[in-house]
């Protein structure tokens, strides 16, 4: 069933979109990741203009994170104070990201920027995940040697000014590192159309030293507002948010996520992670090849005038 997307101005099969949403949803349910970093490149592959893919994906992430954050609020696993500090950084970052995005769009380099960001981040994340899960499998096969590694208690993070007490996380640290983390995630959200959880969650655990149980809820809380803000910025400056596309992806995504959660509980974590890592590297490789190989058509068309 072909459906005409009013903003993307292309005709796409609705079942392909539902299926894509479902597939990425299953993965995100299985691995507990947002899935934006897989969905946006997949949208490029089926012919959605990159600018529309990025903006629409931001819209979809708001919605798919919403029910998640509600569940975390019920379990009281959201550090609101930390969330707000991260959010301040996030909003600044998102605004910066959209400015960069629009500037490069006027230069005709926005596709390159988005693709390059994806190649770099998917490459890093996929590579690290692959090595990590290989090691985990190797460790599981061998008898346990040595005790757990000691975490560094005091680093440069604790030496900064403007300290603040975060009661839910049990932290007393400077507000500068969380704001910087927020800015970085905001920029990524605006340029790549991702929630940024895959950067923020490790940063919160290893950099800020937050307890693992509040990390996911707090990051979801920040992601909702940052991607929501990004959606509005893209909608008002680029007119690239396609609500029909977002809803179709979302419906597939929500159902897929439920199925994925069920599958995830029944499979071995390390093997799952290796699969996800392989998939991330595959998408990264495809994007990299597009940049490295000579395209069959060297010329491309764009609307004139730097809008």
């Amino acid at each position: 069933m072909l459906i005409y997307l009013p903003i993307a101005e292309v005709s796409v099969n609705a079942f392909v979109l539902l299926g894509l949403g479902g597939m990425v949803g299953i993965l995100s349910g299985m691995f507990g990741v947002g899935g934006g970093f897989l969905m946006t490149p997949l949208l490029f592959f089926i012919g959605i203009p990159p600018a529309v893919a990025v903006a629409t994906e931001a819209n979809q992430i708001v919605a798919s994170s919403f029910s998640g954050v509600l569940a975390h609020f019920r379990r009281k696993t959201v550090d609101l104070k930390m969330g707000f500090v991260l959010l301040i950084g996030g909003l600044i970052g998102a605004a910066l990201g959209v400015v960069i995005f629009n500037y490069l769009k006027s230069l005709g380099q926005v596709d390159l920027l988005v693709r390059l960001c994806y190649v770099v981040f998917l490459g890093i994340v996929g590579g690290l995940m692959f090595i990590e899960s290989l090691n985990a499998i190797r460790r599981a096969n061998k008898p346990q040697t040595g005790g757990p590694r000691k975490r560094k208690q005091r680093g440069w993070v604790h030496a900064m000014p403007f300290k603040m007490r975060f009661r839910t996380s049990g932290l007393y640290i400077s507000v500068i590192p969380p704001i910087l983390v927020g800015v970085a995630v905001g920029i990524l959200a605006a340029i790549m159309g991702v929630g940024g959880g895959f950067i923020m969650v490790p940063a919160m655990i290893y950099l800020l030293g937050m307890p693992t149980k509040v990390v996911v809820g707090t990051s979801l809380f920040q992601i909702i507002f940052v991607t929501g803000f990004t959606t509005l910025l893209h909608a008002t400056t680029n007119y690239t948010v396609d609500v029909v596309l977002a809803v179709l992806l979302l419906i597939g995504g929500v159902i897929g996520a439920q199925v994925g959660t069920q599958i995830g509980t029944r499979l071995k974590a390390e093997q799952l992670r290796i699969l996800l890592a392989a998939l991330v590297l595959l998408v990264c490789g495809k994007l990299a090849l597009d940049l490295l190989l000579q395209p069959s058509e060297l010329y491309s068309l764009g609307a004139a005038g730097g809008h």
Binding site: S67, H234, Y239, G253, S300, A303
Partner: protein, 253 residues
Amino acid sequence: MLRWLILPLLLLPTLSLAEEVVLGLSSDEVSITTRFDGDEILIFGAVKRDTPIPDGPPLQVVIAVAGPSEPVTVRRKARRFGIWVNTDTVEVDRAPSYYTVATSAPLEEVLSSTEDLRHKITIDRAIRSVGAPQDIQDAETFTEALIRVREAQQLYQHLEGAVAVDQQTLFRTEIDLPANLTEGAYATRIFLTRGGEVVSSTETAIDVRKVGLERWLYSLSRRQPLIYGLMSLAIAIVAGWGASAAFRLLRER
């Protein structure tokens, strides 16, 4: 004798009236709906004439359908630091978003190049490109690329021999409109030619517009982008929440 002197003078401004087109369209409106995946328009007509069919080369028909013209930026990629990036840019001042030329015989038989130039019939003539940047020597390759890219997208079509002419009087052709159309009035011109010279022409317009939900969403996104953005967020949240609630209900049963 006097009559023969005056006649050419009389004929001059009304030459095109000796043979006149009576035109029909299967529809003069194309609606882009949610289910739109292209359309086909039948253009047909008859030649009305008061005199018998003239001797000489047979009557030929050229039909040109043009979408709204806009400036277009054409970019060329080149290898920089090992990856392919956009480097050179040429602004084409005016290029139709859609263009189809259908003829009743090979183009060079039905249309002389002077007539083509005068009426701007073929795709090359319909595109206007002046003032490429100084540093780009081969500006015309950008125009060629524009035509090539749009031909690949079925937006520019060259249909030689696609117009059927019957008894030098009736003609018909089918024009394919792809799914990726721009909104606007699509100027449809019909030329009757003999020996490459245009003897008559007529013009009409096919209206292509988004309708219903498509129209509403598109115009809201341009006129009230903030409200559109907020609405997109609200719809997405409700849809996401609803889908997960529905799924939970289904599982609990």
